[in-house]
């Protein structure tokens, strides 16, 4: 196990460095001047030159790159062009909102997906299965920018129970979490159903039923734990994606998370902030993938012993 962790960590290092380099290149090679974005295109040339010097944008690309990479090695992501705050502080101040939203969405997704997935798998081709399958298809086919406004229309405008947008108490959390959670629950439900159906056909489940265990109990006690293994993988990856910030949902509900921060940074051409955000997210993605792999090995002894 330890060797596996170390090997995976060693693989992750070049990926993160590669991402950092790619982000740096992407941002510095494409057209668009942050100084123009900050001062407006009509600004006086001397002011522009001064700001450019202050932001060290007049230095050769290679020296900017070297400074960026040595900064990363020291854990220093630079200072935001716009707010002049350290990038790391900006990111960390937004991360709790994203974490909160991701956790709530995950909880909602599980609350919907697990019971419905089991119900559908217990009676395949029944009306329950059909209903679950249809609603899963609906959930899969509705992007967040469709679900979100629909939820606002129903719960905020028609019923007036939850606020339209914003960040505050639990009421503000419900609609964005439902938006993200419903799509995710559709994926999880479909996975759980098919993975359960596969397990139910196995001999150990038939044996349990033959020995007198009720079908429901055999499924829940024996088939479910095994069926959850592949679901856990998808769950982990989905959660990782949520932690990266959900740009669209955060935009719809004015949620002050990482996704929003990143879009704002891109719009303002705040190079250090964009770099920092993407790097942070990439690091998060790589760590979540690693954790999911380890979790997978933990849940399925066959992989551990390979």
């Amino acid at each position: 196990m330890t060797r596996m962790v170390l090997a995976r960590l060693r693989q992750a290092v070049p990926v993160v460095l590669g991402v950092a380099t790619l982000v740096f290149l992407l941002i510095h090679m494409v057209p668009g001047d942050p100084v123009d974005a900050m001062l407006g295109e009509s600004a006086v040339a001397i002011d522009k030159a001064e700001l450019r010097h202050e932001l060290k944008l007049d230095r050769p690309l290679l020296s900017q790159y070297a400074e960026f990479m040595t900064g990363i090695a020291r854990g220093d992501l630079g200072v935001s062009f716009r707010t002049r705050e350290p990038v790391a502080r900006e990111i960390l101040s937004r991360f709790p909102a994203t974490l909160l939203l991701a956790s709530a969405s995950l909880a909602i997704a599980l609350m919907i997906a697990v019971p419905l997935g089991i119900a559908a798998a217990l009676r395949p081709r029944s009306w329950v299965d059909l209903l679950c399958g249809t609603s899963a298809m609906l959930g899969l086919s509705m992007p967040n920018f469709v679900i979100g406004p629909l939820l606002v229309l129903l719960f905020s405008i028609q019923l007036g129970v939850f606020p339209v947008s914003g960040y505050g108490g639990w009421r503000h959390l419900v609609l964005p979490a439902l938006t993200l959670g419903s799509g995710m629950s559709a994926i999880l439900m479909r996975m759980l159903r098919s993975s359960l159906l596969e397990e139910v056909g196995q001999e150990y489940v038939r044996t349990a039923i033959a020995k007198g265990m009720s079908a429901t109990r055999a499924v829940v006690r024996h088939a479910l734990p095994n069926a959850l293994i592949p679901v856990a993988t998808v769950l982990g990856l989905q959660f990782g994606a949520l932690l990266a910030g959900s740009v669209i949902t955060e935009t719809i509900f004015s949620w002050p998370g990482i996704g929003r921060l990143m879009v704002q940074a891109i719009e303002a051409r705040d190079y250090p902030l964009v770099q920092g955000c993407v790097l942070f997210v990439a690091l998060l993605t790589v760590s979540v993938n690693l954790l999911v792999d380890l979790l997978y090995a933990r849940l399925d002894p066959r992989i551990r012993h390979e």
Partner: protein, 285 residues
Amino acid sequence: MSSGVFNRMLRHRGAGAGLAFLGLLGAAALLAPAITPFDPAAQALDAGLSGASAAHWLGQDRLGRDILSRLLFGGRISLAVGLGTVALSIVPGTVIGALSGFFGGRIDTLFMRLCDLLLAFPGLLLAIAVTAMLGPSLPHVIFALSALGWVGYARLMRGQVLKVREMEYVQAARATGAKPLRLIARHVLPNALSPLIVEATFGIGRAVVAEAGLSFLGLGVTPPTPSWGSMIAEGRHFLFIAPHLTLAPGIAIMLTVMAFNFVGDGLRDAMDTRTAGTTAVRDGR
């Protein structure tokens, strides 16, 4: 696609309906300039936000533009991005995946590390960054989505090739002296393609959603060209007084994506020999 696969697919619940819907949508998108009752950009400010009427079946938006006409023209953009992105992703994806899986070794390591690197990027975000920096336009959207899109096809293809490569017929062809590129093109690729076709079907649906998402954020095609995503973004501000502005494009996206999902599900079931076998058994019971 053989007629057997096609027939099996149509037997799948929803796949036939999905295909029919996509056919209609495709025809409507192609013929949009001829069949739309109004110019999608023609404004009628005094009729702004009005609901459905005999002349305007789906009502009018803030500037009085006909929503049905805008929806049909928006469908052109959605389908263009969907098909364009998949075409632009699947070709490099297939080539890279096939080479990687067939030759293994250093080529494989190099390509797969590149894939790992790109997969560490949050999906939509790279597209947002690329379109924000290149400027919003149709080709830029397709390019931005394909920049990451090929990775999935490459990995899928690689896995398939690894499997097919060891088959006896490939070994036999190799033994008769076939060159590697001929082996790949004539023997490996044709037998590794089915999951790619299924994936491409879902991929078109995903690209439609991604385009709408970018347009929703104001990074898709430039106005006044209508796009379903920008229509939702605009309509969202009038959710209180004119929900049809949001509902019409929302339902259009939903139906389109659902159609691609149904067809994809149907294709997967029809092409997966294992599932086809169990269905046959069940049919014979």
